[in-house]
């Protein structure tokens, strides 16, 4: 009997040690783990091992994302430049930051970040958590010091309570603030476009959309010697738009080469050095991250500087011979440098019909990603 009592006591001590001490006079249970669901056809996500997703952490991150407290004068939140209806990009060419200042690059959309390795148009942030730091301290965006934000959060009982529930701490720190926002951003998954539904066998693509997919995945016709609008290719020849070399094929749910930076021939002399600002490698001059085409219908204007308002303007760009700018993508410098794509009207229409299947309205209207301040 005594043995049983002793073992029971020991077990009780063990269990007691697992319970968190009450903090600030109030105790909370452990945060609820959030089960990240990898959509069909997506590869394993790149989730940080030191920041397990929790319901409370994500909710805290969502609030921080939409709270202008992150900016120096409490006027700009992350959501100002990453709006849900724009697939978390900005429909303005350049986003308006603190004190009415404007940046010089288009705001990038935010989704499927759990599969991204480098962030920003020039890839200067090697992790999502590091990325969050940049806009807060950018004098044109939020113009605030991270230390000041932490101080402001610590002064708000609501935030202290939320941090306590999410991370079991009494004090807000910069690391935990970044982790919370990181958690929210990681959960923003777009995987329910018509294309996704087709991949899952739930719907059919129309003949025109399928034709557009074929054009997307096919290299351009031999335009070095032939302008297909003057001398048509032989009957039955599929003329491609050669989108897939940079934007992937039907097996790539991201419709971007996440690893790639390219110069797509926008300018003979790029005014923005792009990737070279990070690598200092002159061969990266004028190269930018290849953006996803998913949700393109919401993410206008296009290109790193938002110079194109419509998808037709983008296609017009690829229809023209590329200027021989330094480091132009070799795939572009070849045949397309001579004539451009030269898609015929019905081919462009089909391509656009396919591209439309990449827009995911379920994502942009998902209540889980909307502002809690509404």
């Amino acid at each position: 009997m005594k043995k049983i009592i002793a073992i029971g006591i020991l077990f009780g001590v063990f269990l007691y040690s697992c319970v968190h001490e009450p903090m600030d006079g109030e105790s909370f249970s452990d945060p609820t783990p959030y089960v990240f669901s990898t959509p069909a056809g997506f590869p394993p996500p790149n989730l940080p091992s030191d920041n397990p997703l929790t319901v409370e952490g994500i909710e805290l991150g969502r609030r921080l994302f939409y709270d202008p407290i992150l900016s120096a004068d409490s006027t700009i939140s992350c959501g100002n430049c990453h709006a849900p209806n724009a697939s978390f990009a900005d429909t303005s060419r350049f986003s308006k930051g603190i004190r009415g200042q404007f940046g010089y690059r288009q705001s990038m959309p935010l989704f499927n970040l759990a599969w991204v390795n480098e962030f920003f148009w020039d890839g200067r942030a090697s992790s999502l958590r590091k990325q969050i730091h940049f806009p807060i301290e950018d004098p044109v965006e939020m113009g605030e010091r991270v230390g000041n934000v932490v101080q402001k959060l610590n002064q708000q009982p609501r935030y202290r309570k939320m941090f306590k529930k999410a991370f079991q701490v009494n004090e807000v720190t910069d690391t935990l603030m970044f982790k919370a926002i990181e958690q929210f951003l990681l959960t923003m998954v777009s995987s329910d476009s018509k294309f996704d539904q087709w991949r899952r066998g739930e719907v059919q693509l129309s003949q025109q959309e399928l034709y557009g997919l074929q054009i997307f995945e096919k290299e351009i016709y031999n335009t070095t010697v032939t302008d297909v609008r003057l001398i048509p290719p032989p009957p039955g020849t599929l003329v491609g738009a050669d989108c897939f070399h940079c934007h992937g094929n039907r097996n790539n749910p991201f419709f971007s080469n996440n690893f790639g930076y390219q110069n797509n021939g926008l300018d003979a002399v790029p005014s923005d050095s792009g990737r070279m600002l990070v690598t200092k490698d002159p061969t990266d001059y004028g190269k930018f991250k290849i953006p996803t085409l998913r949700n393109w219908g919401f993410t206008f204007p296009y290109m790193h500087d938002g110079r194109f308002q419509t998808i037709d303007q983008v296609l017009d760009h690829y229809e023209k011979p590329n200027p021989l700018s330094p480091n132009l993508d070799p795939g572009s410098i070849g045949k397309s440098a001579t004539y451009g794509l030269r898609l015929r009207v019905y081919e462009r229409t089909a391509l656009k019909a396919f591209l439309n299947t990449l827009n995911d309205t379920a994502f942009t209207t998902n209540q889980r990603y909307q502002s809690p301040f509404r």
Binding site: A6, I7, P44, N46, F244, H245, N251, D329, G334
Partner: protein, 257 residues
């Protein structure tokens, strides 16, 4: 006193339950194994290739500047001096632009004397047509590595070898681009090369492989880039076949240390 003894016993029991089991019932004995570091030297003749700025002249008279070379190597097979062999079940993704990827580590190599090394430049048919999303992040075939750049950006399976750059024909003043994407099962290039005999005894050896890319442009098939600047190895594309055939002459075993 009894309580103290019981408590002590309890603590000991608790911690002992946390220890990993060892002994013959649990873990097989670990065989002493070595490793081989394979270093890829990307050359033009005897010169080390310098990306983008190095200008190299082919036998056809084209001046070539190489932007990057990317490729998959797999199915390493090591032949012992007694004719038996050992297969390395791993895939490797190298890029000229990323020096760290040009040293491939073959681990778990059994002790013995070796005289031959075989490998594929590309991947076997099974891997070539697999779903790339199944590979873990650490795999060379995963979408975070070759799967992203060499599979998703192509139509059929993996690109085995991807060489891109600019060139200027002998009679031209302006550079244009070229882009050779070699893939498809029929263009898999398989090597089995004699190596200076070496032994592994739980240690590591360095084997250098010299890849002379000049050969790809001229031997045995002389390539006139201007006649076809791009290949995606599509059916009936003879350039891909000719380039792949040239690759058989471009790989030589260098030193073994």
């Amino acid at each position: 006193m009894k309580k103290l003894v019981l408590l002590t016993l309890g603590v000991v029991l608790f911690f002992s339950s946390c220890r990993r089991k060892t002994g013959p019932d649990c873990c097989p004995p670990v065989e002493p194994v070595g490793s081989i570091e394979v270093h890829l030297n990307h050359l033009w003749g005897t010169d080390t290739i310098v990306r983008n700025s190095g200008k190299y002249v082919t036998a056809n008279g084209d001046t070539v500047m190489i932007s990057d070379i990317k490729g998959l190597i797999s199915n390493f097979n090591l032949e012992f001096t007694d004719q038996t062999s050992f297969a390395v079940d791993d895939y490797f993704y190298y890029k000229l632009s990323n020096s760290s990827t040009n040293t491939l580590v073959l681990s778990g190599i059994p002790d013995g004397g070796y005289k031959k090394m075989g490998f594929f430049m590309g991947v076997d048919s099974t891997a070539n047509h697999s779903d790339v999303t199944i590979y873990p992040r650490t795999s060379a075939l995963s979408t975070y590595q070759a799967g992203g750049e060499m599979h998703w950006n192509w139509a059929d399976g993996f690109i085995f070898t991807n060489i891109t750059g600019n060139y200027r024909p002998a009679n031209a003043s302006r550079y244009k681009g070229f882009s050779f994407h070699l893939g498809m099962d029929q263009n898999l290039v398989k090597f089995s090369l004699p190596v200076p005999t070496f032994t592994i005894s739980g240690d590591s050896r360095l084997v250098e492989i010299n890849m002379d890319w000049k050969e790809m442009f001229e031997s045995p098939n002389l390539i006139n880039i201007a006649s076809q600047e791009v290949t995606h190895s599509t059916s009936g594309d003879t350039l891909a076949t000719r380039l792949s055939a040239n690759m058989f002459n471009m790989v030589k075993i260098g030193s073994v240390k």
